[in-house]
Symmetry: C2
Subunit: 337 residues, 2 copies
């Protein structure tokens, strides 16, 4: 277990600023690669892709690739293509997710599927995935390709797993972790690892980056799931209660269900499993989470994985890149909470 | 224009038998690779994938990869993985297509989306695409990866193009060709080309295989589109009139619309563009196609591309593989018609 740093002393902005500043120049190139590879003579493709690409995502995944490549002393340009590939894989996943979840909003804007239809969202997602693989191939790194192709399979596998388990309120914490391991942590871990791989880092460094990314991804997703019941909509570009309305069984729910009374369990079964909700139910859900410290404990779990992520980086010598990556863990754990 | 061989002298089976027999041993390995890579602890994945994989598709695309690799003297095993990748890419496309087209049947069986839902079809398609890329990476051939990644983008782009144009009965033949070039011919051409590439063929041979596959794919799709208005359901595992019911504008329709009277054009606009159909309309559509020789001329167009495909192979020295590939062109053009 790592030591939990007293995060309260720094603002959210102060924990992410060092990373943003180190990767700024390369991220401008990543953004350019993203725009170039979202081009197509079929107008709907850049329109729909642009809607999501320009919607103010934090681009934390490609930043991981850039930052780990820089930390490992990489001097070439292939990390830019890998980072853009990672963001395309993420964007494709979001497009397909919205179709699967029948979401109406994404990052506070109408979901692409609402504006262009489910069909276009599926197909443009496929196109972006194809473009992602094209960019990876251009780097000529079979190792990076292997890591990212594997992540693509694992992510999809995790989404199917979630689909099969999504309506089961009695899901265990372990089953929930297996889902977010696949659907979120796999891409974080691949993003961090390929940065080191393209820089030719040693085997133990590669394993360290993989672990760093994976645990950071777990922490990130846990916080995301807590924020869905407590975050500020304007900051997140995400409605509070999205997961609740979609009947998603996330850790706050898992904890509440397990810690709750029989009557409370009936509440979760009715609202999430059977999908019978009225307007007051979200507030009741939030009240139950407070009663059982479910959000607080979800954040505690996130701190735990954040601590593992920090320790994973310990084998790297001190550098401003290492410090910025360590700071980004604090950002992921404390953002908007 | 190539010379049209008098095909009538041979049965359908006689034109495909030589190819089937040459690739039989390797195709058994391809089938095994397909089964192994469709495995997952998430039960729904092998169930859903197996439904489609075992549904009696002809596997003509992976056969092209195996046959071209053999023709070019390949002695290794990587062609098996490439062939399985090609089939997975095709299967993923079918799964996503059925969601996009809202199809109820696929190869005469209930479409996967009907049995497992649209969500699962999208996600299992994504999983198979990820597994396809993993297998490609395992071959270590960046050239093959580049060809197949490019095909993945082009296919998705073509599907979006079709989506945007699909309800326009006044589509030109060229616009229709651009769609089938992307959605069908691109994978045929990639399948044929990577077989040669893995065998280390010369640049002009590679170009020949690309052209062979592309033109064979065009011929194949044209015949498919004609069969939708005339084929035998039991043989094809495909309902007659699927395209009509889904409002797809295929070449038989394009020809009928352009050759038809104002009243006939109104018929096509009502049934396909506006989607207002009654039970008699399919028979009226077929009658109009007979009046305007639309099916016959669609097959003539297919013969044209088939002839180009045959000529593309001319630079290869005579061999039983070359002859089997030439025969397969005849099969594609004459099957079940």
């Amino acid at each position: 277990m790592g030591v939990v740093v007293p995060l309260e002393q720094r603002t959210e902005q102060e924990t992410i600023e060092p990373l943003l500043s180190l990767v700024a120049e390369d991220m401008a190139r990543v953004n350019e690669a993203i725009l170039v590879h979202a081009r197509s003579d079929v107008e709907m493709i850049p329109e729909l892709a642009g809607h999501l690409i320009n919607s103010g995502g934090k681009r934390i995944r490609p930043m991981l690739t850039i930052a780990t490549a820089q930390m490992c002393g990489y001097r070439g340009t292939a990390h830019v293509k890998l980072a853009a590939s990672v963001e395309f894989m993420h964007t494709a996943t979001l497009l397909h997710d919205d179709v699967v979840d029948e979401s109406d909003l994404r990052r506070g804007k109408a979901a692409a599927r609402i504006l262009w239809g489910n069909e276009a969202s599926v197909l443009v997602g496929d196109f972006l995935l194809g473009q992602a693989f094209k960019m990876m191939v251009e780097t000529g790194s079979l190792e990076a390709l292997s890591i990212l192709a594997n992540a693509a399979s694992v992510i999809a596998e995790g989404e199917v797993m979630q689909l099969a388990a999504s309506k089961d309120t009695s899901t265990t914490e372990d089953a929930y972790l297996a889902v977010i391991q696949a659907k979120t942590a796999a891409l974080f871990s691949a993003a961090a690892e390929v940065g080191g791989v393209i820089a030719g880092c040693r085997r133990e460094e590669r394993a360290a980056l993989e672990s760093f990314g994976r645990n950071l991804g777990l922490a990130f997703q846990l916080v995301d799931d807590a924020l869905d019941y407590s975050g500020k909509q304007s900051i997140l570009g995400k409605s509070i209660g999205d997961d609740f309305r979609e009947g998603k069984i996330t850790l706050p729910v898992v904890l509440c269900y397990r810690r709750g009374t029989a009557e409370e369990r009936d509440f979760w079964t009715r609202t999430l499993q059977a999908g019978e909700q009225d307007e007051e139910d979200l507030y009741r859900a939030i009240a139950l989470m407070e009663r059982h410290s479910a959000l607080q404990d979800t954040i505690e779990r996130a701190r735990h994985y954040g601590a593992i992520a920090r320790d994973a980086l310990a084998i790297f010598p001190p550098s401003k890149h290492k410090q910025a990556l360590l700071d980004s863990v604090d950002f992921c754990v404390t953002r908007s909470y």
